[in-house]
Structures are given as C-alpha cells and as structure tokens.
C-alpha cells in the first residue's frame, strides 16, 4: 500500500507540476516580476529581501527552481489526495478523484485565502509567523472538518465537522496594520484571481491523473 500511495503521488505530482509551471510562465510569473519593480521603492512597508543571500538569477535559473518547488509542492498535495482515495474503493474512479481534488482545493486554497488573500511582493502583510500559524491551523481544521463531514456517518460528528471548518474564520486571520501599497490594486487583483485559478487547475489535473496512476500502480504492488 505504501508503494502504491507514493508511486501514484510522485507520478501525478511531477506530471501536473510541469503542466502547471508552463501555465504560470504566461500568467502569474509576469505579474510577480512586475510587482517586484514596485517592491524596490517600498522598503518602509517591511518587505525586504536579504540581498546578501543566494537567489536564482531571473530567467531560466529562476524558472528551474520554481519548477522544482512546484514539483515538491504538487507531490505533497498529491499525497494528501491519494490518502483520500485510499478511503474509497480499491479501484479508484474519476468521480472520487474529483471529489478529493475539490476537498484539497478547499483546504489548501479556498479556506486560507479567505483570511490571507494571495499577496504579491511589495504588499503590506501582518507578522509572518502569525500568518503561517493561522494558515496551518486553517488547512488542518478544513481537512479535519471535511473528514468529519464526509467520511463519517455519525450525525453529531458531522455537525462538529462544520464547526471545525468555521473555527479559524471565527477566530480571524492576522491582518496588516496598513492596507496602503505601492503595488497597483489592479495588478494585485489580477494576481489574486490568477493564483486561485492556477490552484484550481492544479487540483483539477491532480483529480484527473491521480486515480489513473492509483489504478495503474495497483497491479504493480509486491
């Protein structure tokens, strides 16, 4: 089973990450680069890169590292999705794949985005550690809540699931002290929309390919 989960996640993760990276080249990457032009003049906002540290050169090198980071991220997402598939029938079908992909998209994109909208370089943000903690809590609550809601049959547990999903939003995400930014609002809005759509494409493709590989690797298990 271990082999099947990991083989499926790696195959689907690499394939989807490469496809999504191509889409990013034409959609989000130009927006990030444009925003970085404004970032230079917004040191007061607190977004300062450590310029002494290594960073990839713009162009192919930067793209290469982004692809690697996308591959690692997408394999992780695929592992969550495949664990979800393992609760279903031995032979995964596309419907289950898409349902699990919707759950993943809800937990890793929709729920955290409610409190922490996609940010471009140069935009004002609250304390990084506080945002990371809220992000983590929200993802875990959403995953746990969806599990209670859809993978158990006990009524009170389902109601508890709804409350768990809502809890981090009632608590509230950390917000920056100021909303003012040098980055044009239209650029930020364009980036926010694009990054959510790209996540949707990523999860949609994972939902399509993961069941295919999951069934393929079923016969390959020792």
């Amino acid at each position: 089973m271990m082999y099947r989960l990991f083989a499926t996640a790696m195959a689907a993760g690499v394939l989807v990450a490469v496809l999504v990276s191509m889409v990013e080249v034409y959609t989000t990457t130009p927006l990030i680069l444009e925003a970085e032009g404004y970032e230079v003049s917004t040191v007061i906002i607190g977004h300062v890169h450590d310029h002494s540290a290594w960073s990839p050169e713009n162009g192919w090198e930067r793209f290469g590292y982004t692809v690697v980071a996308n591959v690692v991220t997408t394999i992780s997402f695929a592992l969550f999705l495949v664990v979800g598939l393992s609760f279903g029938p031995k032979q995964a079908d596309r419907r289950t794949g898409f349902l699990m992909a919707i759950a993943g998209f809800a937990a890793f994109t929709l729920a955290p985005t409610m409190g922490l909208p996609p940010e471009l370089p140069g935009m004002p943000t609250a304390d990084l550690h506080a945002r990371q903690m809220w992000w983590l809590a929200t993802v875990l609550c959403t995953l746990g809540g969806l599990y209670c809601l859809f993978l158990t049959d006990i009524e009170p547990v389902k109601i508890l699931g709804i409350l768990i999903v809502l809890a981090p939003h009632i608590w509230g995400a950390p917000h920056p002290l100021t909303q003012a930014s040098e980055v044009p609002a239209t650029l930020a809005a364009h980036f926010a929309a694009s990054s959510i759509v790209i996540s949707a494409i990523l999860w949609g493709l994972l939902g399509y390919f993961a069941p295919l590989f999951y069934n393929y690797f079923k016969g390959k298990e020792a």
Partner: protein
C-alpha cells in the same frame, strides 16, 4: 472457525498496514510542504519564492 479467524487476522493486518501507509504518506507530505512553503532559510525562500506566492503560502 480457523478460516474465519485467519480472515479476521488478515483484515486487521491489512488495516494496520493501511493506517501505517497513510500516516507515513501524510508525514512526508507535511515535511515537504514545510520545506517549500514555510522554511525561513533565505536560499530556500528565494528558490521557492514564486511557488510560495502562487500557492498562497504566507511568504514575506
């Protein structure tokens, strides 16, 4: 009776293997997400910078 016992034993060993596989998969997924999305090391942050922004990880 024996067949029944061995079938129960087999089911429970399958189940525990399944739970172990799921936990290992989730642990790996968590560790990889932490490295790409959360780790504060400057070179790691710079390498994964664009992915962090697009995948809506808190970045800076």
């Amino acid at each position: 009776m024996n067949t029944q016992t061995s079938s129960i034993a087999k089911t429970s060993s399958n189940l525990s293997e399944m739970i172990k596989a799921r936990l290992v998969a989730l642990a790996f997924a968590g560790a990889m997400l932490f490295t790409v999305g959360f780790a504060q090391s400057a070179p790691l942050h710079n390498a994964a910078h664009d992915t962090r922004h697009v995948e809506v990880f808190p970045c800076h």
